[in-house]
Amino acid sequence: MVVRPTRQQPGSRIDRAKRTLAIGVAAAGFFLLCFVALIPWLPTAFGQAAQDAGEPIAPLQPSEATDAAKVSLGEILFHDARLSGAGTVACASCHDLDAGGDDGLERPAGADGKPLDFNAPTIFNVSRNFRLNWRGEFRRIEEQNEAALLDPNLMGANWNELLPKLQGDAGYVRRFAAAYDSAPTRDSVLDALASFQRSLITVDARFDRHLTGEKGVLTSGELRGYELFKEYGCIACHQGANVGGNLFQRFGIFADPFADRASEDDSDLGRFTVTGLEQDRHVFRVPSLRNVALTAPYFHDGRTASLEEAIGIMARTQLGRQLPRDDVAAIARFLNTLTGEYRRQGPGEAPKP
C-alpha cells in the first residue's frame, strides 16, 4: 500500500486567507496613498465642476501666493504720500481700504482743484478685471499705476524726484534690498505696488459661500434678488467671478442716460476717447459688482449714491425695463451679499520718515 504524503495541511487554508488579507490591506493602503496624494488637486477639480454647473457667477479665488516682502513693501508705498509730487496724496487717499477701496466721492478733486473726469473705482479685486479704469485703457496694474503716479493732475510725481526720495530713506532701502536685492527702481516700485494690489481680493462674500454649497447663508429675499438679477438680464453683463469687469458695454441701450444733461463731458464718451472708433461711443468697461454696497456713489460720474437708484438707472437704460420697487429692493439685497472680506497679508508698517 502506497501512503501518499498529505501535503494538504490544515493550516494552509489559514495561510491563504492571511495572504489574501495582506494583499487586500496592501491594495487599500496603496489606494489610500494615491488618494492622499490626490488631495491637493481635489478642490480645483470640484471647483471646476461647480463653475461648470452653469451658475453665471463664480466665487472669487483668493490671490495667488505672492512674495510677502513685496506685498508689505507695496502696502507701505501705497500709503505713502511721498509718492505724489507734492507729497500730499497717497494711493490710499482715493482708495481707502477701510471704505470699500474708494473714496466715497462722486469725483475726487484733482491737483488743479477741479473734480476729476471719473469716479474713483474700488481698488479691491482690481486684478480680476480684464481691463482697468472706466474706459479700460490699461491692461496691467503697473501701467495704470505709473500713469496715475505721473499724471500731473493725479499724483504728479516723476521718477527723477521720486526714486532719490525713496533711495534716501533707510527703511525703504532696507526693504527694497530684502525684497528685490536692489535699491528702489522704477520697476521695483511698480512691482511692489502691483503685488500689493493683486493681494487685495475680497473673499468669502456670503454669496460666494452660497455658491460653494454652504447652506443657509442667504435669506430667501436675497435668493429672490439673485433670481431677479438673472431674470431681468442684469446677469447678461454682470457675470463671472467678478460679477462684471470682463467686457465692454455701451451705456444706454434702450434709453439715453445723458438725456438730462445740458452737454456731454468727454468722460461720457467712454472708450471713444481712447480708440476714436464710433462704435466705442459711450462704451465703458462693465464695472464689477463685488462690494458694490460699499462703493457708492455709482457710475463713471458718480451720478447717484443710492444703490436702488443705480439699479433703476441700469434697468431703464440697459434693459429697457421699469422695475417694480420690490424687485429693486430684492436685487439690492442680493447685491449686498457680494460684499467680501479683505484679509491683510502680514503686518504692514509705514517706514518712519
Binding site: 463653475q51 447678461a236 457675470q239 467671478a241 470682463n246 467686457l247
Partner: protein, 826 residues
C-alpha cells in the same frame, strides 16, 4: 622647439572648430522649445476661444470669464512667439512675417471678441426676455386685442432667429409695426413697448452677432498658427539635420583625435623602446671605450674584433668589419682575418673610396637599402655578398690613413642618426687604439734600429780608427820588409822568414781595407752606373766561385736602373751577399738575385735603416738556408760578428756591405724566419736623369692586327687624335667622350674589346675608377692609363685597378705602339 607655436596654433584652431561644432550641434535650445510651446498654446487657446464663442452665441456659456481667460492666454502665447529668432532658425522673413500676422490676427480676434461679448450680452438678454415676455403677453387673456399681433411677431421672430435673413427681418419689422399701431391705446403699453424694443434690438443685433461669430470662426489665426508651426517644424527639422551634421563632425573629430592619441601612445612606446635600446647601446659603447683604455698593445687587434662582434650581435645585424690602413702604407689595406661571414678584404676594398650620392655624411656612408641605389658596380658586388644594407663609419687615423668600421646586414636596415653618432665613437675608439698600437710599435722599432745604427756607428769609428793606425803600422812593416828582402840573399832562411812576414802583412792589409770600408773611411769614386751591368758582372764572378751543388738564379731584366756610385764597391756588395747566402746554406740550395726598380710613396722603415720616399733600385738576394735567428739579427752587420766556425770567415763581409750601402745613401732590409731562408734587400736611390735614353728613331714601330681598342678621353680633339693614331697603327679604335658611356658599352659586350685605353682625369668617373670596374668584370683585359701626372698615381692603386701600364701624355705614336705591342703580343 620650433614646433611649439605651430602646435599652439593647431590647438587654437581645433578649439575654435570644436566650439563652433558644439554651438551648431546643440541648436535645439530651450527658448525655441518655449516658442514652439507658445505656438501650440496659440492653436489650443484659439480652439478654446472658438468653442466658447459658439457656446456664448448659443447661450450656453455661464459667463465671459472663459473668453477673457482664453483671450489673455492667446495674447500671452502670441507675445511668446519668436518675433526674432536670434539667427538660429535661419528661416528668414517667412517665420517673422507669419509671427507678425499671428500677432495682428490675435489683436483683430480680440476686437471681434470684445464686440461679440458686448453685443451677445444684449442679444442673449433680449432673446430670453423676448421669449419670456411674448409667452406671458400671449397667454394673458386681457390682451386679446394684441395677442394675434404678438403671436405674429413671435412667429416671425422665430423664423428670423432660425434664419436671420433680411426678408424675414422685414417681416418681423412689419409685424412689429402692426403691433405698435394696435398697442398704442392699450393698457399694457409698457410691457408691449419693452417687447417691441427688445424685438428691434434682436433684429438689429442678431445678424451682427452672427457676423461676429462668423468672423471669429473664420479668423485665420488657426491656419496661420498651423502654417507657422509647419514653418517652425521645417526650420526645426532643418536645424536638427544641421545639428546632426555637426554632431557627426564632432564625432568624426573625436574619432580622429582618438586615433591621434592612439598614434601618440604608440609613438611614445616606440620612443621609450628606442631610448632603452639606445641606453643599452650607450652602455655597450661605454664598455668598449673603457676596455680600450690602457689595453696592452698586443691585445688591441683582438679587442677590436671582439668589440665589433659584440656590436653586431647587439644590433642584431649580420656583421661588423674593420678596414684598417696597412701599417706600412696609409693608402693600402691591412689584411684582417675578419669574423668569417664576409671576405673582409673585398668588402673593405669595395667601400673604400665609394661615392654614394645622398648617403654620405661627415665621411660615413649609410645605405639603408642597397637595392634602392642606382645601378653600379658596388651595388652588384654588395648584392653578390648578400649585403642589403650597410653603414660605413670613418676612422680618421691622420697620417696613418683612413680606415672604416663597416656594419652590414642581409636585410634592408636603417640606422638611427643618434645610433650612428654613438657608433662613430666606437670607430674613433678603435681608430685611436690602433693609432696607439701602431705608434708604440713604431717607437719601439725605431728605438731598436737607433740602437743598432748607433752601435754600428760606434764600432765603425772604433774599428776605423784602429784600422787607420794599423794601416800605418802595416805600411812600416811592409816597407821595411821589402827593403829587407832586397838585401837578403836568395834561399836564405832569413829571406824565407821575411817573405812569410810580407804575406801576413798583405793579409792584414786586406782586413784593414775591409774594416776601413765598413767604417766608410775608404775613398770611392761616384759615377753614374747602370746597376744591371754591375750586378750581371758580379753575379758572373760569384757563379764561378760557387760549388755545383748551389744554383744561382738571377732576375735582372730591369731598365733604367741607374745609380750613382763605385762600380767595385757595388760589385763587392753583390759578391759578399751572394757568398754569404751560399755559405749560409751549407752544402746545397738556391741563391736568388733579383734586381728591380721600385717606387716608395712614403718613407719606409726597414730592419736596418729607412728607405726614403721616391724611386729606388732594389737588389734582393735571398737564400733557402736555415734563416737568421733573432739574436743574430741584432748584430748581423757588426764587424767580426760571425756564426761560422772560427777560421772559416773574418766576420767582415756583411759589415762591409753595410758600410758600402750606407755610403751610397742606400738602406738594407733583412727579412728572415728561422728555417725559411733569408732575404737581404738593398735599396739604392734611382737616378731619374738616367731614365732618359736616346730614343732610337730608326727602329720601326710595331703595328697591330686590327684589335679593337676602347679609348676614353673627355677632351674631344685628343680623343680623335688618339683614334687616328690607333687606326694608323693598325688597330680598330672605339672612342668615348666620358667614362659612363664607355662603361655601358663595355657592359653591353665585355668580350668585344681587346684593350682599354683610358684617360685618368675625367669628370664623374675617373680613369682608375673605370679601370677597377672593368677589371672586376673582365680581369684579363689589359688596361692602359694615359695621364700627364704620373707622380700622383700610386702603384698600389694602379695595380688594384688592374692597370698594366701608364702612358705619359702627350701621347706619342712610338710610345703608344710599343706599349700596345707589349700588352697585346701577337
Amino acid at each position: 622647439m620650433k614646433q611649439l607655436p605651430f602646435l599652439a596654433a593647431i590647438l587654437a584652431v581645433l578649439l575654435v572648430v570644436l566650439t563652433y561644432f558644439l554651438a551648431k550641434g546643440t541648436s535645439i535650445d530651450a527658448p525655441r522649445h518655449e516658442r514652439a510651446n507658445a505656438l501650440q498654446s496659440v492653436i489650443l487657446y484659439d480652439a478654446e476661444l472658438q468653442r466658447d464663442v459658439l457656446l456664448g452665441r448659443a447661450g450656453l456659456l455661464p459667463n465671459y470669464d472663459p473668453l477673457v481667460r482664453s483671450m489673455d492666454n492667446l495674447r500671452v502665447a502670441a507675445a511668446g512667439l519668436p518675433s526674432d529668432d536670434g539667427g538660429t532658425w535661419n528661416a528668414g522673413s517667412d517665420i517673422r512675417q507669419k509671427t507678425a500676422d499671428i500677432t495682428n490676427s490675435v489683436a483683430e480676434q480680440e476686437a471681434l471678441v470684445e464686440s461679440f461679448k458686448s453685443d451677445n450680452a444684449l442679444l442673449q438678454n433680449s432673446l430670453s426676455y423676448f421669449n419670456h415676455l411674448s409667452q406671458r403677453l400671449t397667454s394673458r387673456s386681457g390682451q386679446a386685442g394684441v395677442a394675434s399681433e404678438i403671436a405674429m411677431v413671435t412667429a416671425a421672430m422665430l423664423r428670423f432667429i432660425n434664419a436671420p435673413r433680411q426678408d424675414l427681418a422685414d417681416q418681423v419689422t412689419n409685424s412689429i409695426y402692426m403691433l405698435e399701431r394696435r398697442a398704442a391705446n392699450l393698457s399694457a403699453e409698457g410691457e408691449v413697448r419693452s417687447l417691441i424694443s427688445h424685438a428691434r434690438l434682436i433684429i438689429r443685433t442678431l445678424p451682427r452677432v452672427d457676423g461676429l461669430v462668423g468672423s471669429i470662426q473664420s479668423a485665420p489665426l488657426g491656419s496661420l498658427a498651423r502654417s507657422l508651426q509647419g514653418s517652425y517644424l521645417e526650420a526645426n527639422s532643418r536645424a536638427t539635420r544641421r545639428a546632426n551634421v555637426f554632431m557627426s563632425l564632432l564625432y568624426g573629430v573625436a574619432i580622429v583625435l582618438m586615433g591621434y592619441v592612439a598614434y601618440l601612445f604608440v609613438r611614445l612606446r616606440a620612443n621609450r623602446d628606442r631610448l632603452k635600446e639606445r641606453l643599452e647601446l650607450e652602455r655597450l659603447v661605454a664598455a668598449i671605450s673603457t676596455r680600450f683604455i690602457n689595453l696592452p698593445r698586443n691585445e688591441i687587434g683582438a679587442a677590436a674584433q671582439d668589440a665589433l662582434a659584440h656590436l653586431a650581435s647587439h644590433l642584431k645585424i649580420a656583421g661588423a668589419e674593420l678596414a684598417l690602413p696597412a701599417s706600412n702604407d696609409p693608402d693600402g689595406l691591412q689584411h684582417e682575418p675578419g669574423n668569417g661571414t664576409t671576405p673582409t678584404d673585398s668588402l673593405a676594398r669595395l667601400i673604400r673610396g665609394w661615392r654614394v650620392e645622398g648617403h654620405e655624411r661627415q665621411g660615413s656612408v649609410h645605405v639603408p637599402n642597397i637595392a634602392g641605389l642606382p645601378d653600379s658596380y658596388e651595388k652588384e658586388a654588395l648584392a653578390h655578398l648578400g649585403i642589403r644594407s650597410l653603414l660605413s663609419l670613418p676612422m680618421d687615423m691622420g697620417t696613418r690613413g683612413r680606415g672604416a668600421v663597416i656594419l652590414f646586414h642581409e636585410r634592408p636596415h636603417a640606422w638611427e642618426k643618434d645610433d650612428i653618432a654613438l657608433l662613430r665613437t666606437v670607430a674613433e675608439v678603435i681608430a685611436n687604439a690602433t693609432i696607439r698600437e701602431r705608434s708604440e710599435a713604431e717607437r719601439e722599432d725605431l728605438q731598436l734600429r737607433l740602437n743598432r745604427s748607433q752601435r754600428l756607428e760606434a764600432i765603425g769609428t772604433l774599428a776605423g780608427g784602429i784600422a787607420h793606425e794599423f794601416n800605418n803600422i802595416l805600411g812600416a812593416v811592409r816597407g821595411y820588409g821589402e827593403m829587407a828582402l832586397a838585401i837578403l840573399t836568395k834561399d836564405s832562411r832569413a829571406r824565407r822568414y821575411v817573405l812569410q812576414i810580407m804575406k801576413a802583412g798583405e793579409r792584414a792589409q786586406d782586413i784593414v781595407e775591409q774594416v776601413l770600408a765598413f767604417g766608410r773611411l775608404r775613398e770611392r769614386e761616384q759615377k753614374l752606373l747602370d746597376a744591371r751591368t754591375v750586378v750581371e758582372e758580379a753575379v758572373d764572378l760569384v757563379r764561378a766561385s760557387l760549388p755545383a751543388t748551389i744554383s744561382l738564379h738571377a732576375e735582372l731584366a730591369v731598365q733604367d736602373a741607374a745609380v750613382m756610385g763605385d762600380r767595385t764597391e757595388l760589385q763587392q756588395v753583390v759578391v759578399n751577399l751572394a757568398t754569404n747566402a751560399a755559405q749560409a746554406m751549407g752544402g746545397s740550395g738556391m741563391v736568388r738575385v733579383v734586381l728591380q726598380t721600385i717606387f716608395i710613396p712614403h718613407a719606409r722603415d726597414l730592419s736596418h735603416g729607412a728607405a726614403q720616399a721616391g724611386r729606388h733600385v732594389l737588389l734582393q738576394v735571398s737564400d733557402t738556408g736555415p734563416g737568421i735567428y733573432p739574436a743574430a739579427m741584432e748584430r748581423i752587420f757588426e764587424p767580426f760578428f760571425t756564426t761560422k766556425p772560427a777560421g772559416k770567415g773574418t766576420g767582415l763581409g756583411l759589415s762591409t756591405v753595410h758600410g758600402i750601402v750606407s755610403a751610397h745613401h742606400g738602406a738594407i732590409d733583412v727579412q728572415s724566419k728561422p728555417g725559411q731562408g733569408a732575404t737581404f734587400s738593398v735599396y739604392l736611390p734611382q737616378i731619374e736623369a738616367a731614365v732618359q735614353r736616346e730614343p732610337d728613331h730608326d727602329r720601326s714601330v710595331p703595328h697591330g692586327h686590327g684589335e679593337t681598342i676602347l679609348i676614353v678621353e673627355n677632351d674631344e680633339p685628343l680623343m680623335l687624335l688618339g683614334e687616328d693614331m690607333l687606326a694608323a697603327l693598325g688597330y680598330e679604335p672605339v672612342g668615348f667622350g666620358h667614362g659612363k658611356a664607355a662603361l655601358s658599352a663595355f657592359r653591353a659586350d665585355p668580350g668585344r674589346f681587346d684593350l682599354i685605353l683610358t684617360d685618368e682625369i675625367m669628370p664623374e668617373l675617373r680613369g682608375t675608377e673605370l679601370a677597377s670596374i672593368i677589371h672586376t668584370i673582365r680581369p684579363e683585359v689589359p688596361i692602359v692609363l694615359m695621364t700627364g701626372y704620373t707622380m700622383t698615381l700610386k702603384p698600389e692603386r694602379l695595380q688594384a685597378a688592374g692597370i698594366r701600364e701608364v702612358l705619359k701624355k702627350p701621347l706619342l705614336s712610338r710610345d703608344l705602339g710599343d706599349c700596345l705591342a707589349r700588352q697585346l703580343p701577337a
